[in-house]
């Protein structure tokens, strides 16, 4: 027994890469997840405000809102651009012209709320701020008046005024399970060739090593597309989650989303020296990209430094594409940038993974 123990210990320690990955990767993932779970305890919502009133009442409200939100005074066009076109803010408040006069005369005043319901959580927080502002408004007005502000909500980005929790969880968790299946499947499949002893034959195959690997990747790509489509269609029929106005746009987006996932699988295979190393590496990628991309929770609940990192990871773009399609009722034309960026990630991951894998195994 002692001899077997020593032999297996030596074998385990011989794979220094596996030892390194087993220690460093968890530390990295724990740091990312820990940072995200710290949450933004008092996240300030970005809040564009249009002050068409330019009077004392709007001025007072804006001063109050500044304590609880990142208020940016902009014009109406800029506010709509930030909410509807760039999705940089969940909602914008418009204090209309004549608000102060109406208010001081004791008349109920209209306040306009321009919203992007795809960011339902943030819109809810802005509404809470407005409710509190309404209390303040009542105190500033005649003592018996209860209703001093009338809120008119205008949805700028589609028909879904109040999306439910499934609108976040279905696309988020569907993509996470595709990440799990495709990354592990792809990375393991590449290393299986080595385990089966068929890798040397692939390296000298007439069709070329890269083309052989691309052939293998194509299978994983197809599996990933089918898996994601099935999960989304299930969400549609089981939970009423919208699939957007264009089936063609949905299929194109799903294809674009799965491409970088397969590339990440290839990159995992290229980085891992052995099949055993693919497990912690793949898991690290799945957890990190799920966490940063907003697959588990909306990015705005995480600390600001994490939101900055999130804005460049491909899963964030994938989720934004899904929200554009499902919640903002956008079609093919609105997906052009998202699809291009996802495709670029796919090309980069795949090329890097192929180069690493080829270099690592050609040398042996």
């Amino acid at each position: 027994m002692r001899a077997v123990f020593l032999k297996d210990l030596l074998i385990a320690l011989r794979d220094r890469g596996a030892v390194f990955i087993a220690l460093v990767v968890p530390v990295f993932v724990i740091s990312i997840l820990g940072g995200a779970l710290q949450r933004n305890r008092n996240p300030l919502v970005r809040l564009p405000v249009v002050n068409e009133d330019q009077g004392p009442v709007a001025g007072t409200f804006i001063t109050l809102l500044r304590d609880h939100a990142r208020v940016e005074e902009v014009d109406r066009a800029q506010a709509e651009y930030l909410v509807r076109d760039r999705n940089r803010a969940a909602a914008a408040i418009v204090f209309p012209e004549g608000l102060s006069k109406a208010y001081l005369q004791g008349r109920t005043a209209d306040i306009l709320l321009l919203t992007d319901p795809a960011r339902v959580g943030e819109v809810g927080r802005v509404k809470v701020l407005l409710l509190l502002m309404d209390k303040r408004a009542a105190a500033l007005a005649d003592p018996l008046a209860e209703e001093r502000l009338s809120l008119k909500e205008v949805n700028l980005t589609g028909k879904h005024a109040d999306p439910g929790s499934f609108e976040q969880t279905v696309p988020g968790y569907a993509l996470m399970f595709v990440l799990l299946a495709v990354i592990f499947g792809t990375a393991a499949a590449m290393h299986d060739e080595r385990g089966w002893g068929t890798l040397p034959r692939l390296l000298v195959a007439p069709a070329g090593f890269t083309w052989m690997l691309l052939g293998k990747l194509a299978v994983r790509y197809l599996v990933g597309i089918v898996q994601l489509l099935v999960l989304l269609v299930f969400g549609h029929f089981a939970f009423g989650v919208s699939l957007g106005p264009s089936p063609l746009a949905l299929v194109l987006l799903v294809m674009a989303m799965v491409f970088p996932v397969v590339g990440l699988g290839m990159l995992t295979a290229g980085l891992a020296g052995t099949r055993e190393q693919t497990l912690p590496l793949g898991l690290a990628f799945v957890l990190t990209f799920s966490c940063l991309g907003g697959l588990w929770w909306p990015p705005w609940v995480t600390p600001e430094w994490m939101q900055k990192i999130s804005s460049i990871v491909f899963t964030t773009w994938a989720m934004q594409g899904m929200q554009d399609l499902m919640l903002r009722d956008r079609g093919l034309d609105a997906l052009a940038v998202t699809v291009t960026i996802l495709a670029a990630y796919g090309v980069a991951f795949t090329a890097l993974g192929l180069a690493l894998f080829r270099a690592r195994h050609s040398a042996r």
């Binding site: 009077g55 001025g59 102060s100 001081l104 008349r107 303040r136 105190a139 005649d142 003592p143």
Partner: protein
């Protein structure tokens, strides 16, 4: 004596002085009060201190008793003297709070004086609050009693604060008894003037 105390005494002296040839007219009284208000609003000091200073300044200027009787109108008929007194006391606090809070909305109020119309013991003083972007008309309905001019109503942008209160009292008393309304008013007065966000 504090500066606010001196200001209050000055206003009391202005409004309580016996009618004489040199007695200040409604415009002069209003101008004096608003000038002092401006100094308080734009001066240093915390919000609460400003509210207290304005309260002291405006109390002799605003005839809240006349305003309260007008606002409650026929609903005071048949009430006991104690009930009437209790209402007028609560109304004074409410009106002062309402007016002061509106005044404090303007961070740097600049008052303009358009003119006065005197008709015996009644007068109207037309003023405006000038902001960088707009002007807000504020007219004071004044009445001279025991030689002093005091405001019995304030119209902001043409809307009378007294009428506003009256319509609210009418609406409230159509749905609830007098005592219930009094209880609500007392709670309002006892509660915070400005809830924090």
């Amino acid at each position: 004596m504090t500066a606010n105390g001196r200001v209050a005494l000055l206003v009391v002296a202005l409004v309580a002085a016996p009618a004489a040839a040199e007695a200040p007219g409604p415009m002069a009284v209003t101008r004096e009060v608003l000038t002092r208000s401006n100094a308080i609003v734009t001066g240093s000091g915390e919000h609460r201190q400003k509210v207290e200073a304005l309260n002291t300044l405006l109390r002799p200027f605003l005839d809240t008793e006349a305003m309260g009787r007008r606002a409650m109108g026929k609903h005071l008929d048949g009430r006991s003297p104690a009930q009437v007194r209790a209402f007028l006391d609560v109304f004074r606090e409410l009106f002062m709070r309402t007016y002061i809070q509106r005044l404090l909305l303007f961070e740097v109020p600049d008052f303009g004086y358009k003119g006065e119309h005197v008709d015996g013991d009644a007068a109207t003083v037309e003023t405006e609050i000038i902001t960088p972007k707009d002007r807000f008309g504020v007219d004071y309905t004044m009445r001279r009693s025991t030689g002093a001019w005091r405001a019995t109503d304030i119209r902001v942008e043409g809307a009378s604060l007294g009428d506003n209160f009256r319509s609210q009292f009418d609406a409230a008393l159509a749905k609830e008894p007098f005592d219930s309304l009094m209880e609500r008013l007392r709670k309002k007065v006892a509660g915070p003037a400005e809830p924090d966000l």
